[in-house]
Amino acid sequence: MAKVKIKLRQEHIDIIKSICKKFDYKPGELINVLHQVQGEIGYLPAEVQELIAEELKIPVSKVFGVVSFYSFFTMQPKGKHPISVCMGTACYVRGAESILDEFQRVLKIGVGETTPDGKFSLTSLRCIGACGLAPVAMIGDKVYGRLCPDDVKKIIAEYND
């Protein structure tokens, strides 16, 4: 109804514009654009989606429709140490649920949330293909395998200095 003012940091504007340009502003490249922008900025807040919509000349509702459809995209900034607990079947039958529960309990956050200090965020994901090590969790790029709930506190302590 009314003109909406959208504020963005200059560097983010530059990143988004150059990525959209790289994909020749094609609406069909939306998912590729979102991947790259999230790769650069870390997440896809509303303002970022607005600018992508503007650049690709598609409705922002469609951009959000896509962002909210795919679990890979996030509108929340991830923690400094993003934790992903594998909930693939192999990990599930070897007790992944209790690992995830323990992470939630120790960090006092739910799945998809970030600790208030921004240090840890917790997500579950589907099979990273390390089924031989089940149950598995990843912190950043580091994989922790053959976990039991007891290990959770120790692992978090590694990052809590």
Partner: protein, 598 residues
């Protein structure tokens, strides 16, 4: 054996062998054989380029021999020798279960729902004789969203996606999209924010097609009733051209019934002090817009580079919103003339109020419109004087019908009566504003005579009429060929605007209406539930009403002539410029550099 028609195939449906054309859906084949398969998400407005068949609600499933699972009838095409059963136990159980599932995630507040009695989901529940819902569980909860025109209660959404289709495909507005996935999937603006923060034009077509109570109009009947019962207020009503050809449907009259006379009587019975007609201000619009067109054209033909051609009509408030959002670089293309609703309001609260010596704040102007965007339009700041709006409340055809029902008025049995003078006198040119091509035809009838100084050889410009999305015609203004473009549906408007932006437009004047068929299928009209015959009947009725009127050209309207003589002076003169013209705003999002964040 005679010649077999290659395009016909034989199928068996419910044990009956029938021939259908290749490519026929099971749903259509069944319907043609008097088998009414229930549907829900399926929606089609034949001949209007509007179709929604995602095949997603699964209410219309049927059994097809040799097929592992059930087939959705709305989208499955018949194949040769197909054996279809539409009412086996398996089918009926599946349909009932699916319906129960939909009901299990739907509030059971039918009694107080704006859609009660006119709800496709409710109708199905009645038809299936649902007495209990075997599946219960978590229900979706979304925030309620009120904008000046539209109320969204997505807890009632059944994900038929008709609104999304209208908003994106027919209107190319893109305010709505499916968001999230799985159980949390719903149709919503981006970030689940309010419609007011989006590029929504309030055309109301989402409301027009919504099968349930998820989308409805903002209801002003209470406010109107209060005004009618306030002895200090003089309440003036205006009714738009498309209302008279549709309101009868709400009272069981055949589609296409012209109920102008009953409507005027009903309005009086409701207690309106003056019953006027928006057709009158439509005539006034023609005077202003027609003159503006001729002025611009003259300058353009004289080689004036500063003047913009084509001129585009500006009566449709959804269309105005559309170009303000999407074409902010072209705000000088549309006519500056206010819409008939706003011209009426401006005249009622100046000319007429002065005449009757009513103080502005003591007068309440109510408009009855086929439209939801009119609700937003009358709330715009530029149409207010010291905070007092020119039009106080805009209600829809449906809302007027509910007021009439509320007041125990037997509409169909009412005697006919006329509008009050002077703001009730109108011409056939005013009536045809109600459908696509009508505004420009009315303009042509007047502009021709003003430009040439001669009587126009004809009144009916058939070449401007029709229901195709984009139409064009060249009208000979006694040697001067005027190219006219007409579009309804904002996707078609977008095409014409883009042509103009690229400098490829050949038109001198373009008429745009946002809704399919124009105002006759506005978002505030009685629901047609996908029956385009109803729209065609209204369309015919508009032209019939035009023919029935003694005067059919706006500049011949005695009240208008008098208005200029008494009050305004001349069209596009100083006073009319002040009262009857407006300006447009850039509503496109702006991106700013945030200097505060690190």
């Amino acid at each position: 054996m005679g010649e077999t028609n290659m395009d016909m195939i034989k199928i068996t449906i419910d044990n009956k062998v029938v021939e259908v054309a290749k490519g026929t859906t099971i749903l259509k084949a069944a319907k043609d054989n008097n088998i009414n398969i229930p549907t829900l998400c399926y929606f089609e407005l034949a001949g209007m380029d509007i179709v929604n068949k995602p095949g997603s609600c699964r209410i219309c499933v049927v059994e097809v021999e040799g097929r592992r699972n059930l087939a959705p009838a709305c989208i499955t095409e018949c194949t040769p020798d197909m054996v279809i059963k539409t009412n086996t136990t398996r089918v009926l159980n599946a349909r009932r279960t699916v319906l129960e599932l939909l009901l299990s995630d739907h509030p059971s507040d039918c009694l107080v729902c704006p859609k009660s009695g006119d709800c496709e989901l409710q109708n199905l529940a009645i038809r299936f004789g649902i007495r209990e819902i075997n599946y219960v569980g978590e229900q979706s909860t979304y925030k309620q969203d009120d904008s000046p025109s539209i109320h969204r209660d997505m807890n009632k959404c059944i994900m038929c996606r008709r609104c999304e289709m209208m908003c994106n495909e027919f209107q190319t507005v893109g305010a709505l999209s499916a968001i999230n996935r799985g159980f949390t999937a719903v149709v919503s603006p981006a970030f689940e924010e309010d419609l007011t923060l989006t590029s929504c034009t309030f055309c109301g077509q989402c409301v027009a097609v919504c099968p349930v109570g998820a989308l409805s109009e903002i209801n002003h009947t209470g406010k109107v009733l209060r005004a009618l019962n306030d002895p200090t207020k003089t309440v003036v009503v205006q009714t738009a051209p498309a209302v008279r050809v549709a309101i009868g449907e709400e009272f069981g009259m055949a589609p296409g019934t012209i109920a102008t006379g009953q409507m005027a009587t009903a309005l009086r019975k409701l207690g309106f002090d003056y019953v006027f007609d928006t057709d009158w201000s439509a005539d006034l619009t023609i005077m202003e817009e027609g003159t503006e067109l001729l002025n611009r054209l003259k300058k353009f033909l004289a080689g004036d580079k500063d003047v913009k051609i084509p001129l585009m009509t500006s009566c449709c408030p959804a269309w105005v919103n559309f170009f303000e959002h999407n074409f902010p670089d072209m705000l000088d293309i549309p006519s500056t003339a206010k819409s008939p609703q706003q011209m009426f309001g401006a005249m009622a609260k100046s000319y007429f109020a002065e005449k009757k010596n009513i103080k502005r704040e003591d007068m309440v102007v109510v408009s009855v419109m086929p439209c939801l965007a009119k609700k937003y339009e009358c709330s715009r700041d530029e149409f207010k004087v010291n905070g007092n709006p020119d039009v106080d409340y805009s209600i829809t055809t449906r809302e007027l019908a509910s007021l009439i029902k509320l007041a125990n008025i037997d509409f169909a049995a009412l005697p006919e009566s006329k509008f009050d003078d002077p703001l009730g006198e109108s011409t056939g040119a005013g009536v045809i504003f109600g459908t696509t091509g009508g505004v420009i035809e009315a303009a042509v009838r007047t502009a021709y005579e003003i430009h040439t100084g001669k009587k126009c050889p004809k009144i009916d410009f058939e070449e401007l009429r029709g229901l195709e999305g984009i139409r064009s015609a060249t009208i000979d203004f006694d040697g001067l060929p005027i190219n006219i473009g007409i579009a309804h549906g904002l996707k078609n408007a977008r095409k014409l605007l883009e042509e103009i932006r690229e400098g490829k437009s050949k038109f001198h004047a373009i008429e745009i209406m946002a809704c399919p068929g124009g105002c006759i299928d506005g978002g505030g009209q009685p629901r047609h539930h996908g029956n385009s015959e109803i729209i065609k009947a209204r369309w015919n009725a508009i032209y019939e009403a035009d023919k029935n009127l003694p005067i059919r050209k706006s500049h011949e309207n005695p009240s208008i002539i008098q208005l200029y003589k008494e009050y305004l002076g001349e069209p596009c003169g100083e006073k009319s410029h002040h009262l009857l013209h407006t300006h447009y705003f850039n509503k496109h999002n702006v991106f700013e550099v945030d200097l505060n964040k690190k």
